[in-house]
């Protein structure tokens, strides 16, 4: 795989690497939702959610469709749902270790946020 491809792939995966975006994905996983439904769901800020939705869409992770004044968002396809499931399954295996590392201030193990 060429260097450029790694960059694009990293960008794609970065779509999944934020707690708010993960919550959005969970929220729309089984059923498409409007922006305001998602905002309610996450008790979040409308502008913030809107930006994360644009991000997810730009990463090819979700799609949207308009119906009147509402815009419905959903996962792009079944493969994305499957990827989420597998991420979850693998994550559960290492969760404790990752959480522990996060607490450890001496060892500066990269992504903190």
């Amino acid at each position: 795989m060429g260097k450029t491809s790694y960059e694009v792939k990293a960008k794609f995966i970065r779509g999944f690497s934020d707690k708010t975006r993960l919550q959005i994905l969970e929220s729309i996983k089984n059923k498409e939702k409007t922006v305001s439904q998602i905002v309610d769901d996450l008790k979040g800020n409308q502008s913030n959610i809107s930006q994360h939705l644009a991000c997810l869409k730009g990463c090819g992770i979700i799609i949207s469709r308009q119906e009147g004044k509402y815009i419905y968002y959903s996962l792009r396809n079944a493969e994305i749902a499957q990827l989420l499931d597998i991420m979850e399954a693998v994550f559960v295996q290492v969760e404790e270790e990752v959480a522990a590392c996060e607490r450890n201030d001496e060892l500066d193990c990269c992504p903190k946020q």
Copy 2:
């Protein structure tokens, strides 16, 4: 899933969301390697690679073992390899769209790097 869990999960996934780390993972996917082997492989900077390795380790994605003065790194387990494969498969589906978005300067679709 609780809020904290989303944060930890996001951190775990963030381990995969960088082009250098993806290259490292590709490099050690089939065979454990020493730091200098990886540095050679990626034609990278030793300090930089070392930090990314610490990051991947902190995220529970890779493990290491020492043999004399060398330290060998490898994927944590087969599930991580499987996750990488599925990420790749799903990514290929949306690659063109993500790449296109990256070029589009008007639409500021989140993660750029």
